[in-house]
């Protein structure tokens, strides 16, 4: 269990990793990755009850996580490496030929921590619910966590899954939505508004929590609260307000960095804003 200061130090390093990985591959998705860095750091360091050194594909007895918005893979890979799933030196292979760290996450090449491929959006909630059902059948009281983009909620499958989990009382899953309000073509409200998102989830039978995903104390507290609310007959969703590009000034306040790599000069400028706390890979 890390304290808040430690988590913030790690999140800074994770953000450096994201910039360096995307820059090194000259492709990838820095915006959402940066925005969710605090959440993923807190989740893997303080919340998930599992053992990275003993990664079990079937996750029996372990909390499990599925990244549904697979394009923020550099964030996931960095956090997995920084918490001991594999060596940090492998981060340099991101998106390179033959790498286990594919552009979008996949178990295809055997990277520890990844169980199901994601990238084509909308599928991870169903997968998480399926695993949550299996845990119930197995008498396994550990939990399933998922993360989704807000634009991803435009996919119909999300609402099939949401309806199912609410109706069938799948109360051992905690889904989080990266509610940054931006997607590739612009603000979510312009592309296709999600309307009253909180009311929508409640109407589908979910407990809804909200938090600022870029305030570490709030992230840790809310995730802890979500865990304490499991097992009460309702699935839980956290609507997590974040800033796309958080931590790098010129990547914030715009959707321009959703899926674009910084050039050498921009990379330097970004890294100057992010303290190297744990040593670059």
């Amino acid at each position: 269990m890390a304290d808040i200061a430690e988590l913030k130090l790690m999140a800074s390093q994770v953000r450096r990793d994201i910039i360096r990985m995307v820059s090194g591959a000259n492709s990838g998705h820095p915006g959402g990755s940066l925005g969710c860095a605090d959440f993923m750091t807190a989740l893997y360091k303080n919340i998930l009850q599992n053992n990275p050194a003993d990664f079990r594909y079937d996750g029996h007895g372990h909390d499990m996580f599925y990244l549904s918005n697979g394009h923020i893979s550099p964030l996931w890979y960095s956090v997995l490496a920084r918490t001991g799933y594999f060596g940090v030196e492998e981060l340099g292979s991101f998106r390179k030929l033959g790498a286990r760290l594919q552009g979008h996450p996949t178990p295809d090449k055997g990277i520890p921590g990844v169980r199901v491929a994601s990238g084509s959006l909308g599928q991870g909630l169903s997968v998480g619910i399926g695993t949550a059902l299996a845990k119930k059948m197995n008498g396994d009281r550990s939990l399933v966590f998922t993360l989704h983009g807000d634009g991803e909620l435009q996919e119909g499958q999300i609402w099939e899954a949401a309806m199912f989990a609410g109706a069938k009382k799948v109360d051992n899953i905690i889904a989080t939505v990266d509610y940054n309000g931006k997607q590739i073509d612009g603000p979510v409200d312009h592309v296709l508004s999600l309307g009253d998102l909180e009311a929508k989830w409640r109407a589908f039978g979910w407990e809804v929590l909200t938090m600022n995903g870029n305030v570490m104390e709030e992230v840790v507290d809310t995730l802890g609260k979500a865990r304490s609310m499991t097992g009460n007959g309702k699935p839980i969703v956290i609507l997590m307000k974040t800033e796309m590009g958080f931590g790098v000034d010129f990547m914030m306040g715009t959707h321009a960095w959703h899926g674009k790599a910084p050039n050498a000069e921009q990379t330097e400028k970004a890294l100057a804003q992010l303290e190297e706390t744990l040593g670059d890979y």
């Binding site: 594909y57 079937d58 996750g59 029996h60 499990m64 599925y66 996949t106 178990p107 295809d108 169980r115 199901v116 491929a117 994601s118 990238g119 084509s120 909308g122 599928q123 991870g124 909630l125 169903s126 997968v127 998480g128 619910i129 399926g130 695993t131 949550a132 059902l133 299996a134 845990k135 059948m137 197995n138 396994d140 399933v144 119909g156 499958q157 099939e160 899954a161 309806m163 199912f164 109706a167």
Partner: protein, 317 residues
Amino acid sequence: MIKYENTGSKDTRSGFGAALDILGDENPNVVALCADLIGSLKMDNFVAKHPERFIQTGIAETNMIGMAAGLAVAGKIPFAGTFAAFASGHVYNQIRQSVCYSKTNVKIAASHAGITLGEDGATHQIMEDIGLMKMLPNMVVINPCDYNQTKAATLAAAEYVGPVYLRFGRPVVPNFTAADQKFEIGKAVMMNPGKDVTLIATGHLVWKSIQAAEILENEGISVELINVHTIKPLDANAIIESAKKTGAVVVAEEHLISGGLGESVAQVLSQNVPTPMEFVAVDDKFGESGTPDELMKKFHLDTSDVVEAVKRVLSRK
């Protein structure tokens, strides 16, 4: 000609249901999912006996496939059932990413495949599903021919670790393969050795092909009949060896020509032993309403169509 006897007509979907019932009793890891079609998929016994391992998904097939993948990760052997039209085309992307690319141990139970779905018409009569599913890396595609074989195939699918698309049908059809058969995924079944022509059939066309072979035999044509229940992985050796012997091949299936078993066979033969071929299959058309028998005639999937295809290919030898 080896004699095959119809031991009592049954629907192939009931073979699936019977096997699922057995699996429910014998394998605690087997779970079943269904998108509001329990009766159609003959899952009733499993549902009644093992409600804690049955998941009613409602009419939400994409979620069903995703949940099946999540169940498989945690060690379950999920059989996700619905009509073939919805079990393939409707959820292609979910199968592609969450099942095949992720190599999750999901079994897709696709009932009411092909034109013999009958009166409901073309919206439900999928004849593209073999093609869709065989194109997916890591997918096994099985299309058994009768009740007994469907039952055996279902049991084999549960044993096999990896994604399987199990295709079966709605109508009552002759049941003629052995009740105690051992089903080997990827191994073609020699139904009748012959020397003049190779007749390769799958699914409901196997019985039609038996009847056709008997007619041809009476006319002095020796037919080598092969039941290819596994479209992928294809038993290429059996096909190549037979084609070398006979020098003429007909493939019969309840599917479009495009994407079907015939296309796979043509690929194997063109690379190994180029051989004249004819196809008994549907040519780039949607189906329509009618009884299964009427439709098999209208869409040229009947015994007489197999006989004619054999004569055509023999004329090209």
